[in-house]
């Protein structure tokens, strides 16, 4: 047998032919039918609108059936029965995916469009004292509500994160007897309507006369809403850590706690951070439980333990139903600020969880 020397260049290399991808070759008639099948329905749909049909009706009764029919015909021509089934699925999947994308973009866009009119430095720094629905947008703002939201959410987070992660640890790392019960309860908790959580706190602390409307009551009402999210995401991320790693640590003579702290937790770090951020995102826009616990306020209140406190959702709520245009604009502005806060959170999450992977890729 001839020995192959890898250092020696092949004396007669074969140049790559232009069509070295036989799996990508499509006949001209196939291309033509694809082009036809993807443009004709749009044309027919537009035509039916010109003839007086409403957009929604043209979309559903003219465009979609034509697109299905032509897609099926084209699919059948190119690859027979298989192409036919493929075309039906493709048409439906793309159609509904586009519907969802359009809905999502239009929601975000309408908030940005109407909210940006209200947005200004003064709007996000000043408070709402002496401001009413008819006051011009040049005065007042929701700075007090941003502070309120951050404070209320921070207190909830400080309580919920240790509790939620400890629960997740109990569910995944121990062999406790009540694991399945706890898991069921957490699942049940995630179905709890937020207003019920608020009412419970209201009945217990405020209606009973123990306290007035106050920030900490709002934080308390948000805890049962945040807890299931944090627990379940943390549990999932801990379950993703292979059992072999825990065994490896234990076999080295580690206590269960140190094995968790030094091996399992670092391996699940990005998932745990995601759990915290998803938990915060879950409660940052809650309105109902806050209306009946923190109430609304016009002044800036830094104290969670005395007096009612404004939050972004309650600020939005107080202005949205007004007859004045400026008031409605303030509400849209508040919606935009909430969106921005959540966006900042998610970007921060990405940055916090990425470095390790980036470091690895850099090497």
């Amino acid at each position: 047998m001839e020995k192959v020397n890898p250092m020696q260049a092949d004396p007669s290399p074969v140049a790559r032919p232009k069509k070295a991808e036989p799996w990508k070759q499509v006949s001209i008639s196939a291309v033509a039918s694809i082009v036809l099948a993807s443009t004709l329905p749009i044309g027919i749909g537009l035509l039916s609108m010109v003839l007086g049909l409403r957009f929604e009706i043209a979309l559903l009764t003219v465009f979609l059936p034509t697109q299905l029919l032509l897609g099926v015909l084209a699919g059948r021509k190119i690859s027979g029965r298989r192409g036919q089934a493929d075309a039906i699925l493709q048409v439906f999947v793309v159609f509904f995916a586009m519907t969802v994308v359009v809905l999502l973009v239009s929601v975000v866009w309408s908030v940005i469009e109407r909210g940006s009119a209200a947005l200004s430095w003064q709007f996000i720094t000043q408070n709402n004292v002496y401001i009413s629905g008819s006051t011009s947008l040049e005065y007042g703002g929701l700075g007090h509500a941003i502070i309120g939201t951050l404070l209320v959410v921070a207190l909830s987070t400080i309580v919920t994160v240790p509790l939620g992660i400890a629960t997740a640890i109990y569910l995944t790392e121990t062999r406790g007897r009540t694991r399945s019960t706890i898991r069921t309860l957490i699942q049940a908790l995630s179905g709890l309507p937020s207003v019920v959580a608020g009412l419970f706190i209201y009945a217990m602390f405020i209606a009973s006369g123990l306290t007035q409307y106050v920030g900490w009551a709002g934080s308390l009402a948000l805890i049962p809403l945040m807890l299931p999210t944090v627990t379940r995401v943390a549990e999932e991320s801990l379950l993703l850590v292979p059992q072999e790693l825990r065994n490896g640590a234990l076999a080295l003579g580690s206590s269960a706690w140190r094995a968790f702290y030094l091996v399992t937790m670092p391996a699940a770090k990005s998932g745990l951070i995601t759990a915290i951020l998803l938990g915060i995102a879950r409660i940052i826009g809650e309105t109902a439980p806050l209306l009946i616990t923190t109430f609304a306020a016009n002044n800036t209140n830094y104290n969670l333990f005395s007096g009612s406190i404004a939050t972004l959702p309650t600020y939005l709520y107080t202005y949205i139903a007004s007859n004045f245009d400026t008031a409605v604009q303030r509400a849209w502005g508040a919606a935009l600020v909430i969106l921005i806060l959540v966006a900042i959170l998610f970007i921060a999450a990405r940055l916090l969880t990425r470095p390790k992977a980036a470091k690895k890729a850099g090497k």
Binding site: E244, N247, G248, L252, G253, L262, V263, P266, K363
Partner: protein, 255 residues
């Protein structure tokens, strides 16, 4: 130097009896191989020797495992102490992914909350004993997962050796590795046996003959619990087995 003795070890998972009356003696400074077809309880048995067995939910056990004369299942014995003296290498390499090569070698100290005056020296000695020092000495701070599968497995061996165990248990340490890496690990085993007791589970008969001075053949027949069919010098188990079933197995007639 330490001798390990299993006396009448019986194992259950739930109500299912999976190992019956295992009596084995692992002499010091010797390698003992555990062979047998899949599902005969070898891996289960080896996990009873450092109390990793009890980490499985439905596990049950009867019998004694004597480490230097003390039953490791005695009420007063801390499983963590047992695992410090009886190290274990698993079938699949399991270096800690968040740590560097160096940190992996030192992870045992950290996990067991022990101090060492000369960590760098310990890293070098351990990696040398696992015969991989020359390969990694310039990249000790690289992530452990940047190593090849065979290197990862030797890193796991080095990690165990850093704890200076008296006994080393190896559960099919080469089954996920290529022949080259397998050879290096076998060389390591032969060097290590000068200093410790080694028990190795393997599916590879040649490997058992190359590294082990004594061999135990496990077999579970027709849904019966696994048992030790034959136990003796490797030479004898492979060449003049007493039991017909051993003869069939080592000559490749079944399993």
């Amino acid at each position: 130097m330490t001798e390990l003795i299993a006396q009448d070890v019986n194992v259950w998972f739930g109500q299912r009896h999976v190992l019956k009356d295992v009596n084995l003696l692992f002499p010091e400074r010797e390698v003992t191989a555990l062979i047998g077809p899949s599902g005969c309880g070898k891996s289960t048995f080896i996990r009873t020797l450092n109390r990793m067995h009890e980490l499985i939910d439905s596990a049950g056990l009867a019998g004694r495992v004597l480490l230097d004369g003390t039953d490791i299942y005695d009420a007063g014995v801390d499983p963590v102490e047992v695992r410090l003296r009886v190290g274990m290498v698993f079938q699949k390499p399991n270096p800690f992914p968040t740590m560097s090569i160096k940190e992996n070698v030192l992870s045992g100290l950290k996990l067991a909350n022990r101090k060492n005056d000369d960590p760098n020296g310990l890293v070098e000695t351990s990696l040398r004993r696992a015969s991989m020092w020359s390969e990694v000495k310039d990249r000790l701070n690289d992530p452990a997962l940047s190593l090849s599968g065979g290197q990862q497995q030797r890193l796991c061996i080095a990690r165990s050796l850093a704890m200076d165990p008296d006994v080393l248990l190896m559960d099919e340490p080469c089954s996920a590795l290529d022949p080259g890496s397998t050879r290096r690990i076998e060389e390591t085993i032969l060097e290590l046996k000068e200093e410790m007791t080694i028990v190795i589970v393997t599916h590879n008969m040649q490997q058992a003959q190359r590294v082990a001075s004594r061999t135990a053949f496990f077999l579970a027949e027709d849904g019966n619990p696994g048992q030790v069919v034959e136990f003796g010098d490797t030479e004898q188990v492979f060449n003049q087995p007493v039991d017909l079933r051993t003869n069939d197995y080592v000559n490749g007639h079944f399993g």
